[in-house]
């Protein structure tokens, strides 16, 4: 962003893009409940098979049950701020209902003609009609997406990027060079976002914002890509030199100040989570 190549202004302010900050959770840690005490891998490993199961489910019962289950685990296991609790309890049903309409409108009406609910018409405009059956299919799709989202939040809201990396390096033998390089790369995201803003402003000044429609938009995007890539490569090279100079990769292992062991409680959590999921699936599958 500066002459001589890709440097942020001295105040280089990424703070405003806090939503993209993979380290933000470090700053506002709340007193922990049981999810925070678990190994991040346990929190990822337990819901993962359930997510696959939900993906291949049909109907409303299975995803609905897992939406409720995941929300319950989150509410009990994590100390969420008030707004997050409200979003979970109110936002989830509203999102399901609204997304259900959106997906329902998109599906081919002929694919649900056999269903009994196809004869119940909710809205009709001219030739086109929106049947209850179509809405139910849309609703099921919306619920599947929400269930997978909430299941992934079990790991997402209670552990940070560095915790994940540390745990993978220590427990899954992921090479630390890979893990920590990925973390360093995460820092690039807000930086490039900031830089893209400047490039867009610079191009607007040059008058490239003339022209509408997809062709002009693609041309503009390509125009942004060249300077962004040039500066990204330069920045990456500098970061790599700085990491080399600080002995990164000099030894096969590195000192870990935080241990991230797999404890008995992690095994218990995974076992209980999978057992509960199996029961829920057995009760609801095919209904």
């Amino acid at each position: 962003m500066s002459a001589g190549g890709g440097v942020l202004p001295a105040g280089g302010d990424h703070a405003a893009s806090g939503a993209l900050d993979p380290f933000a959770a470090h700053r506002s840690r709340r007193p922990a409940r049981f999810l925070s005490a678990l190994n991040p891998i346990a929190k990822l490993a337990a819901p993962l098979p359930v997510m696959v199961l939900v993906m291949f489910s049909r109907g409303i019962a299975v995803p609905l049950a897992f939406v409720v289950f995941a929300a319950a685990v989150l509410l009990v296991g994590a100390r969420l701020p008030g707004r997050a609790v409200a979003a979970l309890l109110l936002g989830t049903p509203v999102a399901a209902l609204v997304l259900g309409v959106t997906f329902g409108v998109w599906i081919d009406p002929s694919s649900v003609t056999g269903e009994p609910a196809a004869s119940v018409t909710l809205v009709s405009i001219g030739d086109w009609s929106f049947s209850l059956a179509a809405y139910l299919v849309g609703l099921a799709t919306a619920l599947r997406i929400l269930a997978i989202l909430l299941l992934s939040l079990i790991a997402g809201v209670t552990s940070t990027g560095p915790e994940f990396v540390r745990s993978m390096v220590q427990n899954l033998r992921v090479p630390y060079r890979l893990g920590y390089t990925a973390l360093a790369a995460l820092r690039f995201v807000p930086r490039f976002g900031h830089e893209l803003e400047i490039i867009r402003a610079a191009h607007r000044v040059r008058g490239t914002d003339a022209g509408r429609g997809p062709v002009a938009a693609v041309r503009r995007a390509l125009g942004y890509a060249v300077p962004l890539l040039a500066s990204a490569i330069r920045h990456a090279e500098r970061v790599a030199l700085a990491m080399d100079a600080r002995a990164f990769g000099a030894h096969p292992t590195r000192t870990e100040r935080y241990r991230s062991p797999w404890r008995a409680r992690d095994t218990v959590f995974v076992a209980c989570f999978l057992a509960a999921s199996a029961v829920i699936a057995w009760l609801t599958w095919g209904r």
Binding site: A3, G4, V7, G12, G161, R246, A247
Partner: protein, 562 residues
């Protein structure tokens, strides 16, 4: 037996892949514990390249060939990996952002010793000591992004200290910082220098900040050969003319004394700091009267009709420099603001901006480009075409100029900026100076009488900065209104006719440069007075010199006649 030297270079030549000649070439010197060594040389002489060789990044991580030997604590760098050499040499680079890897200040400082397999308890001890030394211990839990530029560079120094290496190499550590950040970094470096625990090798173009902490200078010439290796103060004083002839930048106070010497006022020894200059001037019983602030040299610049008005300022601003403290948040909004207009505040407009009779926030790109040309900090950001000529043609196309008329205009602009032979070159393949000239060309070709530049000298060495400033002065003399955003106050003092000082997005003062520089507002804006003004403000014997802040105000010899 004396300690072996910490660094020992023997006939070192480094050639970057694809480069025709080696820079530096044939350089030999040693550095012992406790020394603070400043490496000087004109731009392109290979100072930064040399620093990369001091911890083995050359030849191990950078594609370049190294001839001769570099011994670090007796280890040959070409035979030992960077990781092993990092036990002995710690680096601090120019860009604070390109050195941060982790998510908190504490993790960042621990990063290097963790890589070195230092025991966890020792890692924390080192981190605490380093962070306390740079004054960041209380902020250890924060994300480094929340620190200021100066704070992040202090963090980079703490990271280097935590490696417990006896040699600290700093490559232009303050080039990307504002004046407050430079002060912060030098406060830390001064403490390190006085401890004498480390050997410090420093590359720095800001000699005004560095001169009172270094005790030895090594000077390379333009080809990268070592020409001077001697004690700092004596070398800078006694061989100042030789250094100036080499294209090395000297402290402003020394340059001022050299100019005075030509006018018949001999200060011996030559002063190196504003304080020394002030004391030396006060020791002279009679000084000639300083030239007026708008000296004859500048008078031609004042002839064009005023072009920029703002509701707060009735003053015309033929060549204004806007100074501003770099406040977080302000910067982020700025480029967009500049793209749209000049005085749009974050969170709402307060009154219209009028440039050449129109509001740039409300007119389209075509009308705007005819009235005001923008040059962004990084010229690459503005390039949109695959060749130099196309880049200029694009600006004319926005104006709807027919191709037949465009051709001669493009040719004229290429000649004016010395780019004729590079017509078909891709803009990204130009040199830094050429890129900057092209970006100014694209901004001016539509005939804009006003040119606005965002920190055009930021992160550049002095040679390239002065090349640009001379170009801007020529444009200004030809009638273009030039508006520069910067925090380099000596630049402001030397080049600007008017100053608008800003702080936290608010305008503190607008007026002729000499008036604003004489008042208290510069400090209120979080800026530092230029070195020359610091020397003359406190003069006891010569009150008529209190307003002297720019080189052109110093008396000149009648023989020079400029």
């Amino acid at each position: 037996m004396p300690h072996p030297p910490l660094l020992e270079l023997d006939r070192v030549s480094i050639r970057h892949e694809g480069a025709r000649s080696a820079t530096p070439i044939d350089v030999s010197f040693t550095v012992a514990r406790g020394e603070v060594v400043l490496i000087l040389g004109p731009s392109g002489c290979g100072k930064s390249t040399l620093t990369l060789a001091l911890d083995g990044l050359i030849p191990h991580a950078v594609p370049a060939t190294l001839d001769g030997t570099v011994l670090v604590a007796g280890l040959d760098t070409s035979e030992h990996p960077v990781g092993a050499l990092s036990e002995h040499v710690a680096m601090v680079f120019q860009d604070p952002d390109a050195q941060i890897v982790t998510g908190t200040v504490l993790d960042e400082v621990c990063f290097a010793p963790e890589n070195q397999l230092v025991a966890a308890s020792e890692v924390l001890e080192r981190a605490e000591r380093a962070l306390k030394l740079v004054g960041l211990w209380s902020r250890r839990a924060e994300n480094p992004d929340t620190l200021s530029g100066g704070g992040r560079q202090r963090l980079a120094i703490a990271c280097a200290l935590a490696m417990a290496a006896p040699v600290l190499v700093l490559d232009e550590p303050t080039a990307n910082l504002d004046p407050a950040g430079i002060d912060e970094v030098y406060a830390v470096l001064r403490e390190l220098a006085s401890d004498r625990d480390h050997a410090v090798v420093l590359v720095e173009h800001n000699l005004d900040a560095a001169v009172d902490i270094v005790d030895r200078v090594i000077v390379l010439d333009a080809d990268g050969r070592l020409v001077i290796d001697g004690p700092a103060r004596e070398t800078l004083r006694e061989r100042a003319d030789e250094l100036a002839a080499l294209g090395v930048w000297l402290p402003v106070s020394t340059l001022a004394a050299m100019r005075l010497r030509d006018a018949g006022v001999v200060l011996d020894p030559l002063p190196l700091t504003p304080a020394e200059l002030g004391a030396a001037l006060d020791a002279v019983p009679v000084l000639p009267a300083p030239l007026s602030a708008s000296s004859p040299v500048r008078s031609t610049a004042l002839s064009p009709r005023p072009a920029v008005h703002s509701p707060t300022s009735p003053h015309a601003a033929p060549a204004a420099a806007v100074s501003r403290r770099l406040g977080q948040g302000v910067i982020e909004a700025d480029p967009v603001i500049r793209a749209r207009g000049l005085s749009v505040q974050r969170g709402g407009r307060r009154g219209p901006t009028v440039v050449e009779g129109v509001d740039p926030a409300r007119c389209d790109a075509r009308d705007r480009a005819r009235r005001i040309g923008f040059v962004f900090q990084n010229p690459e950001h503005q390039f949109i075409a695959p060749s130099v000529a196309e880049e200029l043609a694009q600006s004319l196309r926005v104006q709807g100029t027919p191709d037949a008329e465009a051709e001669p205009q493009i040719d004229a602009m290429l000649r004016r900026f010395g780019l004729e032979s590079l017509r078909e070159q891709h803009p990204f393949l130009l040199s830094g100076g050429q890129k900057r000239r092209l970006s100014v060309g694209t901004a001016l070709i539509a005939g804009a009488p006003v040119l606005a530049l965002d920190e055009p000298t930021f992160g550049q060495d002095r040679a390239r900065a002065s090349e640009l400033l001379d170009m801007l002065r020529t444009l200004n003399d030809e009638g273009t209104t030039v508006l520069v955003v910067t925090h380099d106050l000596q630049l402001v003092a030397d080049y600007a006719s008017h100053i608008a000082a800003m702080h936290d997005g608010r305008l503190l003062a607008v007026g002729p440069a000499a008036e604003v520089l004489a008042g208290p507002l510069v400090e209120q804006a979080g800026l530092r007075h230029p070195p020359l003004a610091r020397a003359t403000r406190g003069l006891v014997r010569h009150p008529s010199w209190h307003g002297v802040s720019r080189m052109s105000q110093l008396p000149v010899s009648s023989a020079a006649g400029s």
